[in-house]
């Protein structure tokens, strides 16, 4: 636990950073409308407790940077200093340095995409892409469609731009396209047109599922027909532990897909470098948006990344990460099977960093976190991934940033707490103490990710046909 020992003398500096009730009032008149929807949450207060040293935190979303050899880091930095000191310390072009774009082209090629240099914008992490897309596309009240659950880190961005977020349920094949179409229909009837659909097709954060090829094709088809943009966020695509890679949406359609990726998971989140490619007019606006945000991403980081790609096959490190994370994922899946009650349900991610577990709907995972912290284990409560209060019985579990032993112990403790609550509920409802061994299957939890439904029969196809006949909205 950290400990502050502040003496009187250092106070003046700190005082300026704090505010009194009157100060808040004074500043409140100056706050923009959008800050009224920027939430700091109780959950965040609880999450602060998960960072204690004595807590096994499955709540993080961190890659394991301890696997990067310090010697390599030192030698790369020396190379940057020796060969590019003045340029590394200088501003760079907003769209990014050519030498880092060449690295990006290599990564994109590995994902099955060709990317000419003039079609890429180097960003400050993948997160900046989300921000720039919102900045470029959204007026207050505009609709963004996302998956349910969605990446918790995108929610504050959407909120800051005063977007209305419509969440479409997922199953084990990713976003339910039938429900997407339904949602789009409803929006259209209400005279509202969403600006973009945000999706993480590979190893979803937090859901841990991957969008099927069929759904990918459907999604880009819908985007094209309705002239909506799709923001494809693909930070984890190369971290695949099993199965064959699926084509990115961007490779299926380059007219309506904005693509975002990052060096965070294949090299380091500390370099804060990501990239985006988008239809040319959109990319041009995003470039202007980025100028206003930070002029350019760190030149030091860009030279570091370029030196790293020059130093040897970058894929070796990714492969070493894949080995480590695959084992950790397997350990977590085994531990879940061993320690979680049968009433619980969880995803089997083929890659990425997260497993999404869903408990019976009578367990509130925000309250459960308070109980779990007593036993020194933490996770992210599912509500963080929804804008509408759903997800109350789900949790996100991270396996990439924790050792195998900690995963085993963490899941064991968590399983105990969950079993305790399941048993207590059984006692309270008279459904039996040993509810863990209840023979009948429980009803599916509210936010679980069910198997994909069978292909639509004739009636559903008739519905689809109506959608297909919608007139295109392009003028001229």
């Amino acid at each position: 636990m950290s400990r502050g020992l502040g003496r009187g003398g250092a106070g003046a500096e700190r005082r300026r950073s704090r505010s009194t009730a009157r100060d808040i009032e004074r500043y409140a008149a100056l706050f923009a409308q959008r800050t009224k929807v920027m939430k700091s949450s109780a959950m965040r207060d609880l999450m602060a407790l998960t960072e204690r040293d004595d807590v096994i935190s499955l709540a993080g979303g961190l890659p394991d940077t301890s696997t990067f050899p310090p010697d390599s880091y030192a030698s790369l930095m020396s190379t940057v200093a020796a060969e590019s000191c003045a340029r590394a310390l200088q501003y760079g072009p907003t769209e990014g340095l050519a030498l880092v774009k060449r690295c990006i082209a290599q990564v994109m090629a590995t994902e099955g995409m060709e990317l000419p240099e003039d079609e890429v914008l180097v960003t400050t992490g993948g997160q900046q892409v989300i921000d720039l897309v919102c900045k470029t596309l959204l007026d207050p009240g505009d609709v963004v469609v996302t998956e349910a659950p969605t990446y918790p880190g995108a929610v504050p961005t959407f909120c800051a731009y005063q977007a209305e977020v419509v969440q479409v349920r997922m199953d084990r094949d990713g976003m339910r396209i039938d429900e997407l179409e339904q949602a789009l229909e409803e929006l259209e009837r209400a005279g509202r047109r969403p600006k973009f659909i945000y999706t993480v097709p590979n190893f979803h954060n937090p859901a841990g599922v991957t969008m099927s090829l069929e759904r990918r094709r459907q999604l880009v088809r819908i985007a094209g027909e309705r002239e909506l943009l799709v923001l494809e966020d693909n930070p984890y695509g190369l971290l695949r532990y099993e199965g064959d890679p699926l084509p990115p949406l961007r490779s299926l359609d380059d007219e309506f897909v904005i693509y975002a990726s990052t060096f965070s998971k294949i090299l380091s989140p500390g370099v804060r470098l990501g990239w985006t490619t988008a239809p040319a007019p959109v990319l041009a606006k995003m470039n202007i948006g980025k100028q206003g945000s930070d002029l350019c991403s760190s030149s030091i980081s860009q030279y570091f990344v370029a030196a790293y790609f020059d130093s040897g096959p970058w894929g070796d490190y990714v492969r070493s990460l894949i080995e480590i994370y695959r084992r950790r994922r397997d350990v977590m899946l085994d531990a879940l099977a061993e320690h979680f009650p049968r009433e619980a349900d969880w995803t089997h991610p083929q890659g990425g960093l997260f497993i999404w577990a869903t408990l019976p709907d009578y367990i509130d995972t925000t309250d459960l976190l308070a109980r779990a912290l007593e036993d020194h284990v933490a996770f992210v409560p599912g509500r963080a991934a929804f804008v509408d209060g759903r997800g109350g019985s789900s949790m996100r579990l991270n396996f990439s940033g924790v050792s195998e032993d900690e995963i085993r112990e963490g899941i064991r403790r968590l399983g105990e707490v969950v079993r305790e609550q399941v048993a207590l509920y059984g006692t309270l409802t008279g459904s039996g103490r040993e509810s863990v061994r209840r023979p009948a299957a429980p009803p599916p939890p509210a936010t679980s990710l069910p198997e994909a439904p069978p292909p639509p029969g004739p009636p559903a196809e008739a519905e689809l046909a109506k959608v297909l006949r919608l007139p295109r909205q392009r003028a001229g």
């Binding site: 502040g6 009730a21 308070a370």
Partner: protein, 334 residues
């Protein structure tokens, strides 16, 4: 409450006075779920104490608390902790042992007030109005079949029923059960925070917070703050600490004698539980009957930007620094 004379703390206190200010340890943080709130409260308290000319030593409460207190040799401890350990008498007991005067209520008052069940029993025994309730330990359900008594409880309390952990501040774990089907899950949630929970009759009406501070050994109530939720259907943990989620009115516009009655009732509860220094008593003004019902007393109410006691003090013309000064002075007077 007495502090042994001739202790090191007492000697230092004299030294501090000569220098014009005291050496004050601000106890904050800890492992409570309200850690973040405590850190916010403490940050403001530290600033105020410095402005008042005191020497401030902030301690994030942990395993070496006793050692750090010994090293700091404070004249007085300002307890800016909320929730477990800090508000339930634990830290107060340690401060008693070490002979360090401290702000706020003593050990026994903290024990009584921090536990809603103890506090409500005390109120009921004294004839002070508090909503009807039933409280159980987890073992009552696990070992004694208390679940079978739920229908009878539900019939007596009528829906909606509020389910709460006995010891947890800041509305964490408080659930509304609207139907019998909601009750088991609400109990499971409440048991996440404590081994003892209560089921309480829901009082529909206005939520009032009556803050109390002492001056020259006399406790007095401050203007009443009314918490008006802006959107949520229940005044929850989120809203309590965020600007813009709850509208606060101070002084609350209350009909007739209600304000005076609320102030008196809060003082009665304050004395009944044996509080000292300051406290906040939360109550409901029932819409249908016009009656007041006390929900709980907080021995260490929040002191953040959005907290109710500082707002009430401001409404009474008592600025934050003066408030802190009075709370500190009360620690010395007893």
């Amino acid at each position: 409450m007495s502090t042994p004379d001739g202790t090191r703390a007492a000697r230092n206190r004299d030294a501090g006075r000569r220098a014009g200010g005291w050496r004050v340890v601000v106890l904050k943080g800890g492992r409570s779920l309200e850690r973040q709130v405590s850190l916010k409260s403490a940050a403001r308290v530290e600033d105020a104490l410095e402005r008042l000319g005191h020497e401030v030593v902030a301690i994030d409460v942990g395993a070496d608390l006793v050692g750090m207190l010994s090293d700091a040799q404070p004249d007085v401890a300002f307890v800016a902790l909320h929730g477990r350990d800090g508000e339930d008498g634990t830290v107060q007991e340690l401060l008693e042992v070490m002979g360090i005067p401290y702000t706020g209520s003593g050990v026994s008052a903290c024990i009584r007030a921090a536990d809603k069940v103890l506090a409500k029993h005390a109120m009921r025994d004294r004839g002070l109005p508090t909503p009807d309730f039933y409280a159980f330990n987890e073992t009552a359900f696990k070992e004694l079949g208390a679940a079978q008594a739920l229908p009878a409880i539900e019939q007596r309390l009528q829906f909606p029923i509020v389910v709460k952990p006995a010891r947890q501040g800041s509305a964490l774990g408080i659930k509304f059960a609207r139907t019998p089907d909601d009750v088991p899950a609400a109990l499971v949630a409440a048991f996440s925070y404590d081994r003892k929970v209560l089921l309480e009759r829901h009082v529909t009406g206005r939520e009032l917070a009556v803050s109390i501070i002492e001056q020259d050994g006399r406790a007095g109530s401050l203007p009443i703050v009314e918490a008006v939720p802006v959107q949520e259907d229940f005044y929850d943990f989120e809203a309590r600490y965020e600007i813009g989620r709850t509208r606060f009115e101070c002084p609350a516009a209350l009909p007739g004698e209600a304000a005076a009655r609320a102030g008196e009732l809060a003082l009665e509860v304050y004395r009944l539980l044996g509080c000292s220094g300051f406290a906040r008593v939360d109550m409901m003004l029932e819409e249908a009957s016009g009656e007041l019902y006390v929900l709980e007393a907080n021995p260490i109410p929040g002191l953040t930007e959005t907290s109710l006691l500082p707002q009430a003090a401001e409404a009474a013309g008592i600025g934050f620094d003066e408030l802190i000064d009075r709370i500190l002075a009360a620690a010395h007077e007893r």
